[in-house]
């Protein structure tokens, strides 16, 4: 019985924890500009993150080795370090974007400039990372993030033209006035928002934090196979509401205030309150995850003690990295760089960097020395290898598209 509760809690947390500032920005922007013509990317990205996280979680449960441990071990010191620098940099950008997102959510409710909230947000993040037990932290923000379900309900309330929506999702075409490079650039952004590397760093390290063993493989499976698709449904709902309300009006969203307009229209103040709370919780939760992930990646590369399952004095270097990363992320937001633009860059770069961490995880998930009878099966290998090819293509295409489209114009 306790096990069932645990499984259910894990799934709910995974749903609420799926969405972050990247999804909020990418899903709304693509919905407003392309309708549902990019909805298929969300499906591709969700299957991708399921494969990736399932492997990483399984390896962590069986061998106790989280992602960056594997990166170092498979790629060696030099390549591993290059990988660390790239992954850390992108995670740091994402952390800054999430901090900005939390501050923007508060700004939306108070109309007080978000920059004033940033230092306060940073302090609260640090206190939570420093004091709150891992599971409490993970569950709280994941569950409150479920308030975003209001976007899903709003779809029905807005009485959309279901046939038109279904047609545009199933027969995707590039809308008039948008170029093909822009279409593919947004496809990559959307893929990066669904498949952020940090999610996998956090997921696999979280498995070690919660001391998963062979018996917890069921939690791994249900989290990933039920939680992630339902979480992706929330991201899809953001795209739907934008496609229904914003696209016909020609609104190209650049602020969170535009993201929540459809909910206001559908449900009024109560819906708006839920939307803002949901945005706050999921960006705050993601800020915690990225902040910890900065520490996880560095500590796991160098072999330092890490994690919240030990006292801070037992993992001092890990906590120093976490603190410094938070400081750096905060300073980056305080430069007044637009957090929404920062998000756009971070998700695109995240997509480009995916093979760096995907490949080592795939290799180890196949290694019977590590995995014994829990190594990848033939079918999952076929699927995982297809995704490797896809991610490599994306990685090569990203930077040229970024330049050609001037970051989506």
């Amino acid at each position: 019985m306790k096990n069932l509760v645990q499984v259910a809690l894990g799934v709910l947390t995974a749903i609420g924890g799926f969405v972050d500032i990247g999804d909020l920005v990418a899903s709304t922007a693509t919905g407003a500009r392309f309708g549902l013509a990019l909805a298929w990317v969300l499906a591709v990205g969700t299957i991708g993150i399921i494969i990736f996280a399932e492997m990483a979680g399984r390896v962590a449960a069986i061998s106790g080795r989280p992602v960056f441990d594997l990166v170092r071990e498979r790629l060696g010191a030099g390549m591993g370090l290059a990988n660390l620098l790239a992954s850390f940099f992108i995670t740091l950008l994402t952390l800054a974007a999430e901090i900005g997102g939390v501050a923007l959510a508060i700004e939306l409710a108070t109309s007080v400039n978000y920059l004033l909230w940033v230092p306060l947000v940073a302090i609260v993040i640090w206190v939570v990372v420093w004091r709150l037990p891992f599971e409490t932290m993970d569950n709280t923000f994941g569950l409150v993030g479920l308030a975003l379900v209001v976007f899903l309900l709003a779809i029905w309330r807005l009485h959309p033209d279901w046939h038109g929506l279904a047609h545009s999702a199933l027969h995707p075409t590039v809308p008039q006035g948008e170029g093909h490079p822009t279409y593919w650039y947004f496809a990559i952004a959307l893929l990066g928002s669904a498949m952020s590397p940090y999610e996998v760093f956090f997921f696999s390290s979280g498995a070690v934090e919660q001391r998963w063993t062979r018996q917890d493989l069921i939690i791994n499976r249900t989290n990933v196979l039920i939680g992630f698709p339902l979480g992706a449904l929330l991201a899809l709902a953001l795209m739907f509401t934008a496609a229904i309300v914003l696209q016909p009006q020609g609104v190209d969203p650049t602020h969170l205030s535009q993201t929540v307009l459809p909910v206001s229209l559908a449900f009024g103040k109560l819906g708006l309150a839920l939307a803002i709370i949901g945005i706050f919780a999921c960006t705050f939760g993601a800020a915690l995850e990225t902040c910890l992930s900065c520490g996880y990646t560095v500590a796991q590369y160098f072999g330092w003690q890490w994690g919240k399952f030990v006292k801070p004095t037992q993992a001092p270097r890990f906590h120093v990295v976490v603190l410094l990363s938070l400081l750096a992320g905060t300073l980056l937001v305080l430069t007044t760089i637009d957090p929404i633009q920062l998000t756009e860059y971070s998700i695109v770069l995240a997509a480009a960097a995916l093979p760096l961490t995907y490949l080592p995880v795939l290799l180890v998930a196949n290694d019977r020395d590590y995995m014994g009878d829990k190594a990848n099966s033939g079918v999952s290998n076929l699927l995982a290898s297809l995704y490797l090819v896809l991610l490599l293509v994306v990685s090569v295409a990203t930077i040229p598209l970024l330049i050609v489209t001037k970051a989506g114009g």
């Binding site: 620098l85 939306l108 103040k269």
Partner: protein, 144 residues
């Protein structure tokens, strides 16, 4: 790797503006400006719609309208800083300015009304927005 990425970021950010030498480029910038302004105007329309029907918080409405007004103002500022390269471009500019000017000032008025919580006058001020948004979109389509 990190240095390369930082460089790329800078490149991507700085690559957005540059001197404009031909009518074609100027025209596409003008179309872009019209589209962005239309987006801000449409946002304001929606914000007024939810505010007048009491479907949003005063502060959220104020925030939304402040952002829309700032976006429109910024977009106009960036466009005005571009030197028109020839006579045709001059004409295009004045044509677009006739749309930008009322859009920006209407959004500014709305921002002020929203900050005061003056919902009654918001609907009145916003009345010309629908027509303006349509004209801006037409301009965009004609010149892109």
């Amino acid at each position: 790797m990190r240095r390369a990425m930082t460089l790329l970021l800078l490149l991507a950010v700085s690559g957005c503006t540059g001197p404009v030498r031909s009518f074609g480029v100027y025209e596409s910038k003008a179309a872009n400006t019209a589209r962005k302004t239309a987006s801000a105007v449409a946002t304001a329309e929606l914000a007024v719609q939810v505010a007048t029907r009491d479907r949003t918080f005063g502060r959220t409405a104020a925030q939304t309208l402040a952002e829309a007004a700032r976006d429109a103002g910024d977009t106009q500022g960036i466009f005005d800083a571009i030197q028109p390269p020839d006579r045709r471009s001059d004409q295009l500019r004045s044509q677009l300015d006739d749309l930008l000017q009322p859009a920006v000032s209407t959004l500014e008025d709305l921002r002020t009304a929203a900050r005061r919580g003056d919902v009654e006058s918001m609907a009145r001020i916003a009345a010309p927005l629908e027509k303006l948004a349509g004209e801006l979109q037409d301009f965009d389509e004609a010149h892109r």
